[in-house]
Symmetry: C2
Subunit: 132 residues, 2 copies
DNA sequence: TAGTTATTGTTATAATATAACATTATGTAA
DNA sequence: TTACATAATGTTATATTATAACAATAACTA
């Protein structure tokens, strides 16, 4: 069960925007889109993004500096993310595979270091772009 | 067998610097360090970095915007990378696990999208930082 | 209701990365 | 060897992404 987080005004405005977007949004494009709602400065955006990541409502696609809403009911917190990214059209999809997350959550390296978090980004061609 | 790439002057200067560093270097710290060798502009650094990534001599740690030499003889090209990152001391280690790379190389998601490349970043505490 | 913590608003600036264009070097095939 | 193509370089300017610092409010909690 995901803990209910009462989003603040800015957090809600920004989450709603990201949540409605089928694809990841970049910070300054978010900023541009919420100017009419009174959010005027980059920091207001980044602070909301940081919080939303912390509580697991969104993820950052590191290789793209972009933010996407989490649609994976099993990831309660920003601790385990896996995405596929099309190298042509840049479509990003969150991968939710029980097998994969189980494998990675239990992965231990040679040093026995145990991980609390991971981020995986797969690159390839999506179906559409394969056919072109 | 890795194809021999004859690095150009700038590529060699920058690769040598990264290769000697036990930890990832950031682009502007590289720039600062090679100024005495005649490399003066960010673009000169970024171009060399792009090429070195392309031929698999270095990798980019996306979550840190930093670059590290590849010490994994089995990754011929910048197509499959896995790192562990300590969240306290920021130590980065390239993971070379045959099991992991086999698992990920063969991973297929629901859509059957086949991936040509992936990047995985694990976060946790390294041994030293665990003991503190 | 006082004290604490989180969030906000704001200005300035730091850090990361690319565009555009002219030039030089390198590879390759006639 | 020459001509052509391709890759790498040098340079200036600028775009993009992100944080520092500080003052003011709002929300939580004992």
């Amino acid at each position: 069960m995901r803990k209910e987080h009462n989003l603040t005004k800015n957090q809600k405005i920004i989450f709603d925007l990201i949540d409605k977007s089928p694809q990841p949004l970049k910070a300054y494009s978010i900023l541009y889109n919420v100017k009419k709602k009174g959010i005027k400065a980059p920091l207001q955006v980044y602070r909301a993004l940081d919080k939303l990541i912390e509580i697991g409502k969104i993820h950052k696609i590191e290789s793209r500096n972009a933010f996407i809403a989490c649609h994976n009911s099993s990831c309660q917190v920003a601790k385990a993310t896996a995405f596929s990214i099309c190298e042509i059209c840049e479509k990003v999809t969150e991968i939710s595979s029980a097998g994969l997350s189980k494998y990675l959550a239990n992965f231990k390296d040679k040093d026995g270091m145990k991980y609390s978090k991971y981020n995986l980004e797969f690159f390839g061609l999506c179906k559409k772009c394969t056919l072109k």
